[in-house]
């Protein structure tokens, strides 16, 4: 009786299902036919919208001055001013560095291990447009030494909307390798971009200028897109790119979460093959070559790898910069347990649009910061005064601190750095640090070897800062005073008398230094170890200065004397003869140095890269 009933009900159920299924199938067929017919009869005309950038919202560096419109990143917004002309123009957007010259200096950060080979970005900018569209093309108008753009990303957030950000996603539209074009002439760079399924009006460009001969300059960015989601996207099968996977769509937090659950799921005790026989240290060595997301994924595979991948010894150096788009507070809290031995941490560029908060960072610091020696926090806009206070309290051994372009940090936050008395390297490029704070820092951090105060506009009197450096920081090896507008010959003289070990001195665009006071000659005589000297746009550099450099600074490797009219070929020859280590010589816009002379000198001294920029 009952088996009959169940059989009958099963039979009935199957028939019903089959009918409904065929019904839906025919319905589906019918609707598809309808759509196809619809497509054939009247294709909806999708209007392509073309937009220039409306506003540059964020960037990691630029060449120009903070309140200027010459060579600053804000020039990228709006219509092009220069294109299709080529040359070194003020109306373009220029980054702070190019080539590998800055990486060769001892003042640069050491590379972090485990940086994935696909991450080469050195600088970035974020450009907002008026209207969100589904992008069909992105054109970058490069007007000088093109080839730096290596990644274009789109954001799902509308930066101009009043609503709070919800589920911010960054999608890579295009990624490529660092490149250099054959000529420095202007070009329109329009790589083929991926189709994405959200409308965007916020683009991010990441650049790498390491192969370029000179500064790259960008004039404008054009975003082409459609307002309605393209129909094709509905029928498109998502193509899973193997490369995408290895760069990973997964959140590190997801990986971390799964990690905790998978521990007890190892049913087959077949062992881990030869891995069981290898000594612990050897597996650690093997695993140490994996980038961090792979490390998290490997941890899910079995107990053995879980033990290895969560071993704090794997997390002595940690670079989270390549994963800036995906790092969240949750990721940080999952990494907490493994990072107790952390010594070098790179969180530059992270925390984009609220993904990481000050609170999340502070708790991470409190748990993992005890042994920290190096902390890279460039462009971390989530940082607050409280964060710096926590850093100062929990990281007494900190030797390197990078806060470049943290321009939203309030001036009083920098007072906490005073407590980091072991500091060797401090980067405050483009921050709002004030004079009182920097003077206190210099008083209490006598071990300073590398100091970057480039474009620190809130410091009123650099002579006083130089005086303090001379008094307290005798180990100073490199000093970056890019665009410090009121350093005089007195400050410079005090500086070179107290900091005898100086090897790198960046005095570009310091317009108050006058060669007629003899300050550069005094500098040359006082700093025999000098390897890098930038006197960019100091229009007073003259032949006697170069002669003194030739006579005293035989270790000189990088020299920039852009824009002076008072240097002739004779002193240049002398310099090139007496400084055999010279690798970089920038004589752009030096009126007595024409291209014929540059060619001749390049032939005589082939190891020196002589730069002569041009404009029209």
């Amino acid at each position: 009786m009952f088996p009959m009933l169940t059989l009958l009900s099963m039979f009935y159920y199957i028939c019903l299902r089959r009918r409904s299924r065929s019904g839906t199938r025919s319905e589906a067929l019918g609707s598809r036919r309808a759509v196809e017919l619809g497509q054939r009869s009247a294709l909806p005309v999708t209007v392509e919208v073309e937009q220039y950038g409306k506003e540059v919202l964020d960037f990691s560096s630029h060449y120009g001055s903070e309140n200027s419109m010459s060579y600053t990143m804000w020039n990228l917004a709006g219509v092009p001013n220069v294109y299709p002309s080529s040359g070194d123009f003020t109306q373009t957007a220029v980054f702070r560095t190019y080539g590998s010259w800055w990486e060769q200096c001892t003042s640069s950060a050491q590379r972090f291990r485990r940086t994935p080979p696909s991450f080469h970005s050195q600088d970035y900018l974020e450009l907002a447009f008026e209207e969100p569209v589904y992008p069909t093309a992105v054109e970058v108008l490069e007007t000088y030494h093109p080839g730096a753009v290596i990644k274009i990303l789109a954001c799902s957030l509308n930066p101009f909307s009043q609503n709070p950000p919800v589920d911010v996603r960054w999608e890579v539209l295009w990624a490529g390798k660092p490149n250099k074009a054959l000529t420095p002439q202007a070009r329109q760079f329009s790589p083929s971009i991926k189709q994405i399924n959200f409308a965007t009006n916020l683009l991010r460009l990441e650049v790498n200028s390491s192969l370029l001969e000179y500064y790259t300059e960008l004039d404008a960015v054009i975003l082409r897109g459609v307002r309605e989601r393209p129909i094709l996207a509905l029928y498109k099968i998502p193509v899973i790119d193997i490369n995408d996977l290895s760069d990973s769509e997964e959140e590190i937090s997801e990986a971390g979460g799964l990690c905790c659950r998978s521990g007890g799921e190892n049913r087959h005790n077949l062992g881990n093959g030869y891995f069981d026989r290898l000594p612990y240290e050897l597996i650690q060595l093997i695993v140490s070559h994996l980038p961090v997301p792979d490390l998290c994924r490997l941890a899910q595979s079995c107990k053995l790898f879980h033990k290895h991948c969560c071993d704090p010894l794997q997390y002595i150096q940690l670079s989270l910069q390549p994963y800036w788009a995906r790092l969240t507070d949750a990721s940080l809290s999952h990494l907490l347990s493994r990072c107790t031995l952390l010594q070098r941490l790179n969180m530059s560029w992270t925390g984009n649009r609220g993904a990481v908060t000050a609170a999340g960072f502070c708790s991470f610091m409190k748990a993992c910061g005890v042994s920290l020696v190096c902390l890279e926090l460039s462009c971390c806009h989530f940082l607050t005064e409280a964060c710096l206070e926590v850093i100062a309290q929990t990281c007494p051994c900190l030797q390197e601190l990078n806060l470049a372009s943290c321009d939203r940090l309030q001036p009083q936050a920098f007072n906490h750095i005073v407590k980091l008395t072991n500091l060797r390297r401090l980067v405050l490029y483009r921050t709002k640090v004030e004079q009182s704070a920097i003077l206190s820092i210099l008083t209490f951090c006598p071990e300073l070897k590398h100091l970057n105060l480039g474009s620190c506009v809130m410091i009123e009197d650099y002579d006083v800062v130089a005086s303090m450096l001379s008094a307290r920081c005798h180990s100073l090896r490199s000093l970056d005073l890019w665009r410090c507008r009121n350093l005089s010959e007195h400050g410079l003289a005090e500086l070179v008398s107290g900091c005898r070990l100086l090897e790198e001195l960046e005095l570009g665009w310091c317009s108050t230094l006058q060669s007629s006071s003899g300050c550069f000659q005094h500098l040359a005589r006082s700093l025999p170890r000098l390897r890098k000297l930038f006197l960019t746009a100091n229009r007073t550099v003259c032949d006697s200065d170069l002669e003194e450099l030739a006579a005293n600074c035989s270790a000189l490797e990088h020299l920039d004397i852009l824009g002076t009219r008072m240097v002739s070929s004779a002193s240049l020859r002398k310099l090139l003869q007496c400084c055999p280590q010279l690798k970089l010589l920038d004589v752009s816009f030096c009126s007595q140095v024409d291209s014929r002379l540059v060619q001749e000198l390049s032939g005589l001294f082939p190891n020196v890269s002589i730069k002569k920029s041009f404009t029209q």
Partner: protein
């Protein structure tokens, strides 16, 4: 249908406009330029809006219309410096500042200061000096804000009479106040006035006011009554008529400049100071002529 609506709107506006005391329409300047470089061989127009060593610009912004003239000091030629580079770059920088909105309409001296600062930010070592005169019309407030450094200047003409004019700033004879960038070796001996030294003024303007901005090439050769005579011939407020009038003023000044017997204002001033001279003053002439009109997009 549409014309009925627009007609109705016009009528309503006229009625309301007539009833209310204050005029809430936005004003704008319809402007044209003309000029002659002293040296014909260089051609009349070089790099656009440059007449010899003079330079000028006309720029529109959402909230203001801005004009400017700059007279490059010719003495630099003797030292191998092209005087038109400084004045031309100064004017182009002012134009760019206005287009990007980096200015305050009520502070035209600020435009000069910022522009001068930007010149120093150029990698190219610029040298030279020039006078400068900036005129800003604030669309909403109907006020004209001006800044003048040197011996260029402007006239405001209403109902056939001059109601406002700028004052010349001179250190001594034929040496006006000037913005300059000097080579470092000559820094002490080259005249260099700060942009803050510019004279500034602000006043109301009405529809139909004519504003003439020019370099001293015009004012030294044509007295006011001749300029006013030419301006009387201006009947329309459209661009072509203004262009035509600017051209005729400039041409007349150019002819007078080379007349050896004519008692020009320049010669008159010299005589008043004990120098017995006659004739015009050959110089670069730049004329910017504008009329205050209603703002149309």
């Amino acid at each position: 249908m549409l014309s009925v609506l627009s007609y109705g709107r016009l009528v309503a506006r006229a009625v309301i406009g007539g009833l209310s005391q204050t005029d809430s329409r936005d004003y704008s300047l319809v402007s044209a330029s003309f000029g002659f470089g002293k040296d014909f061989r260089k051609g009349i127009l070089k790099k656009g809006m440059c007449y010899g060593d003079d330079a000028c610009f006309i720029a529109r912004h959402r909230c203001a219309d801005v004009l400017g003239v700059a007279d490059g000091v010719g003495g630099w030629r003797d030292y191998g410096v092209d005087p038109s580079q400084f004045s031309g770059t100064l004017m182009r920088t002012c134009e760019r500042l206005v287009k990007e909105g980096r200015f305050v309409p009520s502070n035209p001296v600020g435009i000069l200061t910022t522009s001068y600062y930007e010149l120093l930010q150029n990698k190219v070592p610029l040298l030279g000096s020039s006078t400068a005169c900036i005129v800003v019309l604030d669309r909403q407030s109907h006020q004209l804000h001006t800044a003048n450094l040197g011996d260029s200047g402007f006239l405001v003409v209403r109902g056939g009479e001059v109601v406002h004019r700028s004052d010349e700033q001179q250190h001594y004879f034929n040496t006006p106040f000037q913005l300059s960038i000097a080579p470092p070796e000559a820094e002490g001996s080259v005249l260099s006035d700060s942009p803050e030294a510019a004279d500034s003024s602000s006043f109301d303007v009405q529809l139909g006011d004519i504003i003439l901005t020019a370099t001293d090439g015009l004012f030294d050769n044509m007295p006011d009554y001749m300029i006013l005579q030419e301006l009387k011939k201006l009947k329309n407020t459209n661009y072509e008529s203004i262009q035509q009038t600017a051209r005729s003023i400039a041409e007349q000044a150019h002819v007078l400049a080379y007349d050896p017997n004519y008692m020009s204002p320049f010669a008159q001033f010299a005589c008043d100071n004990g120098l017995n001279v006659r004739g015009g003053k050959p110089d670069d002439i730049t004329v910017l002529l504008s009329i205050v009109a209603e703002y149309t997009d």
